[in-house]
Structure formats: C-alpha cells, structure tokens
Amino acid sequence: MVKAESQQGSDQKSQALISLRSVSKSYQGPQGLHPVLQGLSLDVMKGERLSLIGPSGSGKSTCLRVINALETISGGEITVCGHTYGQSSLPVHKIRQFTGMVFQRFELFPHLSVLENVALAPRLTKSWAKDRAEAKAHELLERVGLKDHVLKYPSQLSGGQQQRVSIARALAIEPEVLLCDEPTSALDPELVHEVTDILQDLADGGMTMLIVTHEMAFARRVSTACLFLEGGRIVEQATPDEFFDNPKHPRLQQFLRILHA
C-alpha cells in the first residue's frame, strides 16, 4: 500500500524532491503574532543546489526547519519525495529520513564516538547490522577526511572536524536531499574551507542540496540557483551570476552593497 502510494505521489510531483506551497508560519512574540514565513513557495528538483540568502530574521533557517518538520506550519503544504506532511500515510519520522540535515552548531551526540555518531542513524532507521552500519560510517568518514579520528569523541575535535562528522552523519541515512543550516557560521574563519570543500565535493557528485549560508563566495560557487528571502518571502531567484552581478530587487541590491562595503 505504502509503496503504491509513494509511486503515485512521485509521479504527480514529477521530479521535485521538495516542494513548498504557500507555506506560512508565525511565532507568538511579545507583540502578538510575528510572521516568519508568508506564503512561501519553492521547488527543489533532483540535482539542484539552492542557496537561501537573506538578512537575519528573514525566515531562511525556519524554511529549512519546516521541511524537516522540526517546526510546525500554520498554513500551506510541504511535500518531501512525494509525501505531504499531514496527508501521507508515512509517519513524520519516516518522511524525515528522505532528508539529511547539517546544523550550525553541529549537534553531534557528545556521549557517542565519532564512529557511533555516524553509524547510529542507519542502525536505527534502516535496521542495519552493526557491522554494515560501521562499514558505511568508515567509508563516509574517510570521505570527509576523518578516518584517523573515528574513535574520538566530538569534544576532542575542532569545530571544522565536528562539522565534517555531522555531514557524514547526515549522509549516513542516504538522504535524497541535504539540508544545510548555516554550516560554517559557528566556525573559525580559517576552518570554513574544510567544510565548504566537502560540501563542494558533494555538490560535484550530484547531491541535491538546500543551503542557508552567509558565505557568499561559497554560495556562488556551489549553487545552481540563489534565492533571496526577505520577510518570509522569496523576493528574488536567479542563477548565481545573475544574482550577484545583476541583482534586480532593491532590497537585494542594498543587502549585497552592505556585504561588499
């Protein structure tokens, strides 16, 4: 039953791995309801890499978090790999398994070793045997250049290394889409490239990605399209070159001017 429905679902939405339709969300703030997302619509096609750019409070992170159902929405519809939250017969935690997420503050599990951090999700969500999950973890950790650190604990690693572990951890469930929420914002400037290099590698390998970032050079390099968010809406969407060299919206022009100043 589930399989049939998923087949039908993915046919309907063609290749869009993630699609947001008029999504809105408000927080209960001190001055009443504060809107964060206002009728946001967005499609992420297979192989696409979208960068979400915007001033703080524009709803970038919230946009990522609602895709993973880490936040509830007050209106609209979110579909991930053919499964719409609230309508699919799959439980929410199963739908989350289509996406992997990298957090600003890494959020590695401090009580588990690097290897266990990466192997945990496949063991629990895919019911893989320990050996198989650890083999996969070794492979991923080698890919992010940390094969000599597998037995260490997160607190024994630098920020850049921790973020690389968390990328490996996100990839361990073999997600269709990688969501990156400001993956370099908590890093010392000289460590940023460690992480952006890995993400660039993944992008070159054809990974579908949705990235919230303040690293403009990285966004320009890695993305197939850049989106500018302002007040919970997408106000501009363009190819990276167009986005940075020839911005249309006055708010984006102002934003880029301040960045370059």
Binding site: R65, N68, A69, L70, P91, H93, K94, R96, Q97, T99, G100, M101, F103, R105, E107, L108, F109, P110, H111, L112, S113, L120, A121, L124, T125, Y153, P154, S155, Q156, S166, R169, A170, A172, I173, L179
Partner: protein, 260 residues
C-alpha cells in the same frame, strides 16, 4: 593567566583551621577526664562465644540492605514519578508535584512515624518494611526532581538533530536522551544516596536493627557511649566514602565525550 599571588594566604588559613580543630578536639578529650577503652568493642563486632557476627556487624548489614533497597526502590519510583512530572496531562503532573512537595517538605522522622504507626498498623507492615518503604518514597521525591530538572535542561539542538535523522520518539529517548541525562544526573544522585544512607539511621526509632540501633544496644549493655558512637561514626563515614568514591569513579569514566 594571572599569577596566583595569594596562594600563601590560603596555606596559612588551612594550617590555622587544622590546628584550631585539632586543639579543640584535644582540649575536649582532656577536659572529659575519661579513660578511653575501645578494646571491649571487639566482642561486639564478632562474638567470641558463639563465633557469629556481633551486634555491630549485624547492624551494619541492616543499614546496608535497608539503604540498598531504599536506593533501588527510590530510583525506580523516582524515575517513574519524574516521567509523570513532565507529562502533558495536567492532573497527573499536578499530583506528582504535590507528592514530591509533601515528601520533600516533611521530616523523614515524621514520615517514618506516620508510615509505621498509621499505614504500618493498617497493613500490618514489619518495621523493616515500613522503614524501607518510607525511605524509598522519600528518596524517590528527590530523584524525581533531579530527573525533571535534567530533562527540562536537555539541549533542544540534540533533540532536533535526533529528529532530523528520522529517529522516532522512543529511539530518541533511549539512545540520545537517556544516556546524556543519566550522566548529568549522576553527581546529584550520588549526593542524594549518601544522604539517604545517613537518614537510614532514623529507622532505629521504629526498632529496626540497623547500625544506630546496634549502637544503642551496645551502649545499653556496656555503658560506654563515647567509644561506641565514635566507632559508629567512623563506620558510617567509611560506608559513605566508599559510595561517593564509586560515584566519582563512574562520573570520571562516563565524562568522556560529555565535557572532554
């Protein structure tokens, strides 16, 4: 780093405190004008005639098993109670909070009397049973509160990370939250358990044969209360020292990864 200029002041202060304390002890022994004799206690550790453990060892066993059962019982009830305290159902939550408040805000001695003379009489509980039950409930109130506080402090980012990788709630609780929360609870728990071993001396008032009750019996026969209490204090101290050392050992071992 600032140079630690004032360290000699602390050295002098500690020497003064040590000197003061020992001279106070020495003076009180002098002024008591009492001939100390610890030798007789030997027979109360091990009875020479029957070749069996004496009153004091029997009492130590009593204190040991009553404390142990109360700690186990208190932990189990406390964890369940703590879960109820954080559950969304308001009536259950409120009831658990009232329970915890009652047991934390009344003296254990009074709880013991109520349990033994009222509940114990009604249900025909033995003194040991009443003692263990009271101490378990008393301990559970503290365990529940320690648990509740640590769960509420749990890092939301960890919870998000676990949800984002597609774990369901049971898996998050078992693999992510429980190991971290139990480690953070450990220091407070050990402190609570040490204090429970000390509080267990109160069961002597409902004539349970624990260490304190043995001491009273020894004194009743030998009339040597100074030596007896002195030795009993040392035994309690050793017992709790062992417990807290084990706690510190566990803490050190489990710390790997949590704080670096």
């Amino acid at each position: 780093m600032y140079p630690r200029k004032l360290s000699w002041i602390f050295t002098i202060l500690s020497v003064m405190v040590l000197l003061g304390a020992s001279s106070l002890l020495f003076l009180s022994f002098q002024r008591l004008d009492y001939t100390w004799d610890f030798a007789f206690l030997k027979d109360y550790f091990w009875e020479p005639t029957s070749g069996k453990p004496g009153l004091i060892l029997q009492g130590l066993w009593g204190t040991f098993y009553i404390s142990l059962l109360s700690i186990v019982g208190g932990s189990v009830i406390g964890l369940l109670l703590g879960l109820v305290m954080i559950c969304p159902e308001p009536l259950a939550r409120k009831s658990a909070t009232v329970f915890v408040d009652v047991f934390r805000n009344t003296p254990v001695l009074v709880q013991l009397y109520v349990m033994y003379f009222i509940v114990g009489t009604a249900l025909e509980l033995s003194p040991e049973m009443a003692g263990i039950l009271t101490l378990s409930l008393f301990c559970s109130a503290y365990v529940a509160d320690i648990f509740r506080a640590n769960v509420l402090e749990f890092d939301k980012g960890q919870w998000d990370a676990a949800r984002a990788m597609g774990l369901h709630q049971g898996q998050i609780a078992l693999y992510i939250m429980a190991p971290q929360i139990l480690r953070r609870m450990l220091p407070a728990l050990v402190g609570q358990f040490v204090s429970l071993v000390k509080d267990s001396s109160l069961v002597s008032v409902i004539s349970v044969n624990d260490l304190t009750k043995s001491a009273l019996n020894v004194i009743a026969v030998s009339f040597r209360s100074f030596e007896t209490w002195f030795v009993i204090a040392i035994i309690y101290c050793l017992l709790n020292y062992a417990l807290s050392s084990y706690g510190r050992y566990l803490e050190r071992r489990l710390r790997v990864g949590l704080y670096g």
